[in-house]
């Protein structure tokens, strides 16, 4: 009997495992191997070069720019997105006059804030490129319209503004999703807790800090992982929207873009694979840190 069960379990697992190994693990393994070679992408042979590709990464000024930019994005994008997401979700839940309901039109706002999530990233990038257009873009046009023409900039072409402009787009496009995520988490918080807090005389900020935040902490942590991974990517937006792309002069370079350029423009697949492997370990490290960082005891509700 036990024998038959084992066979059944193995039989059920095998197809999935084989597919996983073939389409997930094997490409990873190949990328690891290729990162140690000088494969050009078309040649039949690849010569083993040891860790040479990794040593080069340290001298590649553009790659170092990319690392710096991804690091900035890693700090700014999740923090800002989660802060705005939490704020909007709280307002939708408790922003009403009594302090226990959402603002009027909550359902409508939820849908509207979620809209950017429905657009493909490519469309988002193209739309924002129009918004940032220095001569007839919406942003400069609005600034000039309200008499703040002095604040108008060539957003994507000035090195100290370009990365911020890119990050603003990433935040804009993802905030709706996290608002919905946090909203769902807040829905699960019993109302009695808020009523009790209200009776105890807690203000909005105290209620948020002492009641809401501890109870959605798990969701915030998951959001950090997702946003961290998104911040380490950024390829599509940068590739479509920025000057160069990746410019001006490396100001918006990201690892993914360096990787793509080296593989498909320069024909250095081995070197590009080394970048990919580096990115893989960075992403893994971010995910592990975010998930293990703060192991607080779980709060039990009900």
């Amino acid at each position: 009997m036990r024998h038959g069960k084992l066979r059944f379990v193995a039989g059920a697992l095998a197809p999935a495992l084989v597919l996983h190994a073939l389409f997930v693990l094997s490409p990873y393994a190949q990328a690891f191997y290729l990162s140690l070679t000088d494969w050009t992408g078309v040649a039949g042979g690849a010569h083993f070069v040891g860790l040479g590709n990794y040593a080069r990464l340290g001298e590649d000024a553009l790659f170092l720019d990319a690392l710096r930019n991804n690091a900035v994005m890693l700090i700014v994008v999740p923090t800002v997105t989660i802060a705005i997401g939490l704020f909007l979700a709280s307002v939708l839940h408790l922003g009403g006059r009594r302090g226990l309901d959402g603002v009027r039109g909550t359902a409508f706002y939820k849908v509207v804030y979620f809209f950017p999530q429905l657009l493909s990233l490519a469309i988002v990038a193209v739309l924002w490129q129009f918004v940032y257009n220095p001569t007839n873009g919406l942003l400069n046009g609005s600034l000039r319209g309200i008499g703040l023409g002095g604040l108008a900039h060539s957003w994507l072409a000035e090195p100290h503004l370009a990365l911020a402009a890119v990050m603003a787009v990433i935040v804009w496009s993802s905030v709706g999703f996290y608002m919905v995520l946090f909203s769902a988490a807040m829905d699960a918080i019993p109302r009695e807790l808020y009523e009790a807090a209200l009776i105890d005389g807690a203000g909005a900020w105290a209620t948020f800090r002492k009641v809401t935040l501890p109870l959605v902490r798990d969701n915030v942590r998951v959001a950090f992982v997702y946003l961290g991974i998104a911040a380490l990517d950024g390829f599509a937006i940068v590739q479509i929207m920025t000057v160069g792309p990746g410019g001006p002069d490396g100001a918006t370079e990201v690892i993914g873009l360096s990787l793509y350029r080296n593989a498909f423009t320069y024909g250095k697949f081995g070197y590009a694979s080394a970048m990919g492997v580096t990115l893989f370990f960075l992403t893994l490290a971010v995910a592990l840190l975010a998930l293990r960082g703060r192991r607080t005891e779980r709060l039990e509700i009900a």
Partner: protein, 471 residues
């Protein structure tokens, strides 16, 4: 290698995963990506006769892969129809696609490529990489064959100057380019006539004219700021005219301090002066090619640097009566080594025959048809683009832009030059683009521009993993 997460179920799951990894990944490592090697090619060749100089096997199938971009692929189909007429038994497989490189890369790796490829457009294959991997046929046999519609001339004698050099890598002709591109400065002739402006013959006149244009309320220049390489073309053209062939060689051969030569720093200073005097339309630095070219077509700027494809690219945007024409980049100094009429020109739309093509004789024959004068004439007529075949536009009524391009080619005579470093050393090209973008935005000086690029050129020169070329 890949780390396998431990679970509370302990060994069984790990063991299964491990076995799967070892079983599947190991052969894949050596098998999938880099397979190939020297399996013999099944190239079919028949007897060579005067009628059939390339030895085509009449019933061998022919596979043609064409980049279907701005020129469409009807012209390629017309050549296929002629091929089918001569070899009715041959089955022709035509594919008009985009992102040629991504589609064909696996087939080159597996050594099962098509018989002819038009390796053009965004996402094409990197030619030096292909050539270094010996994936391309030598086209010398085709060049020495009689032309399709003029058996008195060899194919090589029917091409415009520079076309064979453009297709040569490491001493071997591996591609043949169908179109001929000339770079220059574009303007609207009616606009200039209206204001009584004359196209400048040298840079001093250019600056004087820019002053006049600016006072007329029009921005003198704009450029495709999102892609600073467009502004490199006038800069490098001026430098090449000043420094002559020696400069081209020094730059392309990665000679020490080539970028710090007076010719290049002088040309960079000219562009910097343009920016410094406010002759470049504000905001240009962030505009894409479509946006800046549209602004130029709306008369917001007088000059825009671009290659000869501009007229067909602007077809749907340009207002009636705009009548754009291309002028040659003015000479920077009186002591220039090349005449003011010299132009930067290069052929593009690269056709190649893979080394492992099953029917490479058919592939070559197909190119002989495609590069015939009649085929080129039809191409020029349909696409308002200069083909790389001499005399292809004879007897055609040309648009204002195309006729100015043809005149520029005729005026330049033998002085049609091009830089090779862009295609030989793509990372260097990227460094030049970035530096020029900074220069045009006044963030670096011409001196710093030269130093940055020289550093990048030196890095390429000493990088042993990069195949070097000489001209």
């Amino acid at each position: 290698m890949v780390q396998i997460p431990t679970t509370k179920y302990g060994t069984p799951r790990r063991a299964v995963l491990g076995a799967a990894l070892a079983g599947v990944a190991a052969p894949a490592l050596v098998g999938c990506v880099t397979s190939g090697g020297d399996s013999g090619n099944g190239t079919a060749t028949g007897a060579k006769t005067a009628e059939n100089p390339l030895g085509v096997v009449p019933d061998a199938p022919l596979e043609v892969v064409v980049f279907k971009g701005g020129y469409g692929d009807d012209y390629a189909k017309n050549a296929e129809a002629q091929y089918a007429q001569k070899y009715p038994k041959a089955k022709i497989d035509h594919k008009g696609i985009q992102r040629v490189g991504e589609a064909l890369q696996p087939r080159f790796v597996a050594d099962t490529p098509p018989d002819v490829v038009d390796n053009s457009g965004a996402g094409r294959l990197d030619l030096p990489t292909l050539a270094a991997a010996s994936k391309l046929s030598d086209l010398t046999e085709l060049l020495d064959a009689p032309a399709w519609d003029n058996s008195a001339a060899k194919v090589r004698d029917t091409l415009l100057p520079g076309v064979i050099e453009d297709g040569t890598l490491a001493g071997k002709v591996v591609t043949l380019n169908l179109t001929y591109t000339v770079w220059g400065l574009w303007y609207s002739r009616p606009l200039f006539d209206k204001h009584g402006w004359a196209y400048p013959k040298n840079w001093t006149e250019m600056l004087a004219l820019c002053d006049q244009i600016k006072r007329a309320g029009i921005a003198p220049w704009t450029y495709q700021g999102k892609y600073p390489e467009y502004l490199n073309d006038p800069l490098l053209t001026m430098a090449a005219k000043t420094g002559g062939t020696d400069l081209l060689k020094a730059v392309d051969n990665l000679e020490p301090n080539a970028w710090k030569s007076d010719a290049l720093i002088g040309a960079a200073s000219a562009i910097a002066e343009l920016a410094g005097k406010g002759y470049i339309m504000p905001g240009s630095e962030a505009l894409s090619h479509t946006e800046s070219q549209a602004a130029w077509c709306q008369g917001k700027a007088a000059f825009i640097p671009c290659g000869s494809w501009l007229e067909s690219e602007q077809k749907g945007v340009v207002p009636a009566g705009f009548d754009m024409v291309m002028g040659t980049v003015p000479a920077l100094t009186a002591g220039d080594k090349m005449a003011g009429t010299a132009v930067q020109a290069a052929s593009s739309e690269s056709y190649l025959v893979p080394a492992k093509a099953k029917n490479s004789a058919g592939g070559l024959e197909y190119l002989r048809i495609l590069f015939s004068k009649a085929s080129a004439k039809a191409f020029a007529e349909a696409n308002a683009t200069l083909p790389a075949i001499a005399g292809a536009t004879d007897g055609l009524t040309l648009t204002s832009g195309l006729s100015s391009v043809r005149d520029a080619v005729a005026g330049a005579g033998k002085e049609a030059f091009s830089f090779r470093f862009r295609s030989w050393y793509a990372p260097l090209a990227k460094a030049v683009d970035d530096a020029t973008g900074e220069l045009a935005n006044k963030r670096i000086t011409p001196q710093a521009w030269a130093e940055r690029i020289q550093k990048a050129a030196d890095a390429v020169a000493k990088d042993s993993s990069v195949t070097k070329y000489q001209r």
